[in-house]
């Protein structure tokens, strides 16, 4: 009695009761379809959020002046909380960080020719380009020497370039910020939302020293608005943040009992929350799928029991002509597994079309993963074996004489 024979018999008996087989399969179809689709959804959602967060920079940290206390409180205590270029320099040397980049930011009048608008201009150092992974499409980025020289150079986003130099090559041209001319040396590649909420293609970047000297015109040229730092990929964000805090507290000579005069903000906490939510949602959806599989499995068991009773006489005949108990067991087990696997395949097909439909209509890419399909087939088989075993064993344990007497 080989496998092919067993399968032929299974298909034959399924075909003999088409409606019943279809209805029995339905539970498994729904179960597998939901499990596969939900696995795919969970996976795609995680990937989507992961990508979103990656573009924001999950290992990005913002160090900002001022702790939990208000400026007024600090003023009363006679302390002014600031961050300086030297703070940034010190952080940049931390081994747990890829880099730390200071920034000065403000809204200024930007103009070229007849175009004139108020925009955010950020003064940065080359370290910012590194940690934010900003690259140029055309031209170059400014370097350390330019920063030291407070060079009036400017790197702009694509949209800014389009706005001011529509169709013309912006490189070498000038943008006036607060009536100071800055020469365009590079156009940033790409577009998209940044971790600080700004749009990459709308960036206007100048050397931080030039921003200080010509735009902010601060009496304290060392002060910066914030420091952007990036943790190394293999370092836990918590550890990196701890290092940052220690360095700044040390530099600011804050006593052990006193609170920080700065804040460290991290996107990783958001990422973790998002991850927890997606995992939770995926688990919940998976649970629903598992429940429908369970119900489907019980349906299979029920029908197999009915089938065993219905075919008692046939079992007797088979035993009389030489079927061993194992032959009978295998036959009924195979039938349950075939029903489940067939149901599983239909379920996968339904899940695939569901994924296609979602991708098409919901503007959210969902595709079945190979692992999901394999897991589903495995599930279907396990359900078949698990719920088919009891009826099959019952059939195999019947006595031939009782079966033959059964009407």
């Amino acid at each position: 009695m080989n496998l092919i024979q067993v399968l032929i018999e299974s298909f034959r008996s399924m075909a003999a009761n088409r409606l019943r087989t279809a209805l029995t399969m339905l539970g498994i179809v729904i179960g597998i379809a939901s499990v596969v689709l939900l696995l795919a959804l969970g996976d795609s959602m995680q990937r989507f959020i992961g990508k979103q967060l990656q573009s924001l920079g999950t290992n990005m940290v913002y160090v900002m002046p001022g702790g939990d206390r208000t400026a007024a409180q600090r003023a009363r205590e006679g302390k002014v909380a600031v961050l300086t270029l030297d703070d940034a320099e010190a952080l940049n040397a931390l081994p747990s960080l890829t880099g730390a980049a200071p920034a000065l930011q403000g809204s200024f009048k930007v103009s070229a020719g007849n175009e004139n608008l108020s925009s955010t201009v950020i003064g940065v150092t080359p370290a910012m380009f590194t940690i934010r992974n900003w690259k140029v499409d055309q031209g170059t980025l400014f370097g350390e020497a330019d920063v030291r020289a407070s060079a009036r150079l400017i790197v702009i986003g694509q949209k800014v370039a389009d706005q001011f130099f529509y169709r013309a090559d912006p490189l070498g041209r000038y943008l006036r910020i607060e009536n100071v001319s800055f020469q365009v040396i590079g156009v940033l590649a790409g577009e998209g939302r940044q971790s600080d909420g700004t749009e990459l293609s709308e960036q206007i970047l100048v050397p931080i020293t030039a921003a200080s000297a010509y735009l902010v015109k601060s009496p304290f040229p060392q002060n910066v608005h914030y420091i952007n730092a990036q943790g190394k990929p293999n370092v836990a964000m918590g550890d990196a943040i701890q290092d940052i805090k220690e360095v700044i507290r040390d530099r600011h000579r804050i006593r052990v009992d006193d609170p920080d005069d700065f804040r460290v903000q991290n996107l990783n906490t958001i990422a973790e929350t998002a991850n927890k939510i997606t995992t939770g949602v995926a688990l919940l959806l998976g649970l629903i799928g598992a429940i429908s599989l369970l119900v489907g499995g019980i349906g299979i068991m029920n029908i197999m029991l009915v089938s065993v009773t219905e075919r008692t006489r046939e079992i007797g005949i088979r035993m009389a002509i030489g079927a061993r108990p194992n032959h009978i067991l295998l036959q009924f087990l195979a039938e349950a597994v075939v029903i489940c696997l067939a149901g599983g395949l239909v379920g996968i097909a339904i899940a695939a079309s569901g994924a296609l439909a979602i991708t098409k209509f919901a503007d959210f890419e969902v595709y079945l993963t190979m692992s999901g399909v394999i897991v589903a087939c495995g599930f279907a088989t396990v359900v078949g074996v698990f719920f088919g075993f009891y009826p099959a064993r019952r059939a195999s344990r019947l006595l031939p004489v009782d079966c033959l007497r059964y009407e």
């Binding site: 009695m1 080989n2 092919i4 024979q5 034959r12 008996s13 003999a16 006489r313 046939e314 007797g316 005949i317 088979r318 035993m319 009389a320 002509i321 030489g322 079927a323 061993r324 108990p325 194992n326 032959h327 006595l399 031939p400 004489v401 033959l404």
Partner: protein
């Protein structure tokens, strides 16, 4: 292979339903030599079907010994008994017991499939066996498309496809008309004579028993007569009017 095919000694069978014991066989002794043709007769309740089930290894005796082809069947497990039913015994039932979903040829091939013979080879041998019973052309039909006599011939082909030394038939003509019954019994006789197959059949019809060489009559779970069929049937024919006379008011 020598010695008797069937030896039963002191076989008893008691059915249990709940706590009620119903003894059916009270100690039956019987030997069947190879090549014999035995009819078992008896009124309903005499235990002839029970004896048949035990002989066919479909049921186990409560007590006594049963040696089939030299093997002590009471010591064998279910798989081993299945193998015996597959290779040593061929069954023919009153209600044919063909599997309706399968074609005639598949029905006949099934014992070979269980014996582990490949599909193609099993089908070929099934067709040969069907030709022997004169139904070679009907292999692709389903049992319901055949007449009763034809179905019983298919059952005979199925019983013989594994070349068993023993054919057990339980009221094989019970569902057939007289003419077809004669046909079936003639083929039994031919099988017995030409292929040397040992046949044991249960019947309540004297005409059917007349085809056999030997008769065993059971009454209330005991052997009442065991001897030549002709003699036994004559006794039975003589007894019947006496019984009728005794019962009549």
């Amino acid at each position: 292979m020598s010695g008797p095919l069937i030896v039963i000694r002191g076989v008893t069978k008691t059915y249990l339903s709940g706590s009620v014991e119903t003894p059916v066989l009270h100690g039956v002794d019987m030997r069947v030599e190879r090549g014999d043709f035995v009819s078992i007769m008896g009124q309903s309740g005499s235990g002839k079907s029970t004896l048949m089930n035990i002989l066919g290894c479909l049921d186990q005796a409560t007590g006594g010994t049963y040696l089939l082809d030299g093997a002590d069947t009471r010591t064998l497990g279910r798989a081993a008994l299945a193998d015996i039913r597959n290779r040593t015994i061929g069954f023919v039932f009153q209600s044919f017991n063909l599997i309706k979903r399968m074609t005639v040829a598949e029905n006949v091939a099934l014992p070979l499939i269980y014996a582990g013979v490949g599909r193609a080879k099993a089908q070929a041998r099934a067709l040969t066996e069907l030709e022997r019973v004169g139904l070679g052309a009907l292999g692709k039909r389903t049992p319901s498309q055949l007449s009763g006599g034809q179905q019983q011939r298919v059952a005979i082909a199925r019983a013989l496809v594994t070349d068993p030394p023993l054919l057990l038939a339980d009221e094989p003509t019970g569902n057939l008309d007289t003419h077809t019954s004669d046909d079936i019994m003639n083929s039994f006789q031919t099988l017995n004579r030409e292929r040397g197959i040992t046949i044991v059949l249960v019947t309540h019809e004297a005409d059917v028993a007349a085809y056999s060489r030997r008769l065993v009559r059971l009454k209330d779970g005991l052997v009442l007569y065991d001897g030549p069929a002709q003699e036994g049937l004559r006794q039975l024919a003589g007894a019947l009017p006496a019984i009728a006379a005794g019962v009549a008011p």
